[in-house]
Amino acid sequence: MNRPAPRRREKAQVLDEAALDRALTRIAHEILEKNSGASNLAFVGIRTRGVTLAHRLAAKIEKIDGTSLPVGALDITLYRDDLDMRGAPVVRGTDIPFSIKDKTVVLVDDVLYTGRTIRAALDALIDLGRPRMIQLAIFIDRGHRELPIRPDYVGKNLPTSRREVVAVRMKEHDGEDRVVIEEPEDA
């Protein structure tokens, strides 16, 4: 079943380009602090924008610490709990070109909402091997959790209402680095 996405308008800007970059730099430092350096770390981003954020974090860490960390891309379509409700799933493929066994994997996504995506990502990741530890880095935590999941690193906590949408826009996909809140046009 394919319903056209409802039209949305921008309600407010949350982060501009500089603020977005500062938040990423802070998360990179926190990752290094919490793990006492970059040894045995690997990034896995959830498609699509989680992968882009993971690459940016890896670049930050390389700048700070000089260590080049591996980055993988995880597609969770095959692990969703709501396949029947969504229709026409698009599988974009998992591409993790390194072993995650015994690594500390930092799972990266742009927005944390119900927690269902992360639940699916944890299952998908563990099917690929047994990491020593999984940590969760989220750019925007907008609340409304439906599962007991909490992030280890957060770019920004952003209380929202359920009818709003948080859009993390990134140059690689959207031509700009910005975080905005959108709401349906009929509101």
């Binding site: 079943m1 029947d84 409700m85 799933p89 698009v90 599988v91 998992t94 091997g129």
Partner: protein, 315 residues
């Protein structure tokens, strides 16, 4: 392009965008074959019935593995061991199976149109796994996936399909799919095995192997069924092999050095393909078989995974 169909019956029905959605989805699923644990939970709780009225090892096994890797329950129903021998009709058998609530029925039958008949009669999704001389869509899809991996694109490619075109559902499905994707197709074979009016499908016809394989990117050799000789369509297997069999010598003399040799299997070694060609670096026959699993996963996933219950669509 979003997948919205209930069934996969024929390549002829599909839009180019739908064909590419199937090929892209299959390409994304290929990595599952290289995992230690070859299982994803996508179709957990779904039931797939393989309803096969013709002998088939490769296709049935391929659908079975595909379903199992996606965590579906796969049941094989082979007609010879079943109620058909007790006189039950095809549609009655299918309705009995449907009463057990499968999500997808994969059907192979010697009668053209069998899959379409079931699609009309049953509410579950139907996949055509070969119906008579009509179509075999998943074979065409795995051929396309193999070609795209090696040649990177479709538009402008030249493909020769050689052998018994008249009785080949593989040829029919490939012709329809390839024409939609901008591939130039030449069919070749003895005149008795080339259907009249085949040109109406938008293909060229060649009556000599050497002419058909010149400058093409892909040569697809079809299996010669032994019963064609009994039917008087070819004088002898030896003569067929002399004129239409692909030997290494003919291949190197007339075809491009980067040509791909494909065959839907099972190969009659020494008839349509010489063993040296079947085992040469030109041959991608085993790639076709492994891609078959990815393609069937994609088909099962898109059909069973996209069936939405009205009113439950989430934003």
């Amino acid at each position: 392009m979003a997948w919205t169909r209930k069934d996969l019956l024929a390549m002829r029905d599909l839009e180019p965008g739908e064909i590419l959605t199937l090929v892209d989805t299959a390409a994304s699923l290929e990595e599952i074959a290289s995992r230690d644990i070859k299982k994803v939970p996508a179709l957990r709780g779904k039931t797939i019935v393989n309803l096969f009225y013709e002998p088939s090892t490769r296709t049935r096994t391929s659908f079975e593995i595909a379903g199992k890797w996606l965590s579906a329950d796969v049941i094989n129903f082979t007609a010879s061991a079943s109620s058909t021998t007790k006189g039950e009709t095809f549609v009655d058998t299918a309705k009995n199976i449907e009463a057990m609530s499968p999500d997808v029925v994969v059907v192979r039958h010697s009668a053209s149109g069998a899959a379409e008949l079931l699609a009309r009669e049953l509410d579950c999704s139907i996949v055509n796994a070969g119906d008579g001389a009509h179509e075999h869509p998943t074979q065409a899809l795995l051929d396309l996936l193999t070609i795209r991996e090696k040649k990177r694109h479709f538009e402008g490619l030249q493909v020769a399909i050689v052998g018994d075109i008249t009785h080949s559902r593989v040829a029919r499905s490939n012709i329809h799919a390839m024409r939609k994707l901008g591939v130039t197709v030449t069919v070749a074979g003895p005149p008795t095995l080339i259907p009249p009016f085949i040109g109406e499908l938008g293909v060229k016809v060649a009556y000599r192997l050497e002419e058909a394989i010149r400058d093409v990117d892909v040569i697809m050799m079809l299996r010669l069924q032994h019963e064609r000789m009994a039917a008087g369509l070819i004088p002898s297997v030896r003569e067929y092999s002399r004129y239409w069999g692909l030997s290494l010598d003919k291949l190197q003399k007339h075809a491009r050095p980067d040509v791909l040799i494909m065959h839907p299997g099972p190969v009659n070694r020494g008839v349509e393909l010489s063993p040296e060609v079947a085992d040469s670096h030109y041959s991608v026959i085993l790639d076709q078989v492994s891609k078959g699993v990815a393609v069937r996963m994609a088909v099962l996933f898109l059909l069973a995974g996209s069936r939405s219950s009205e009113g439950q669509v989430r934003a």
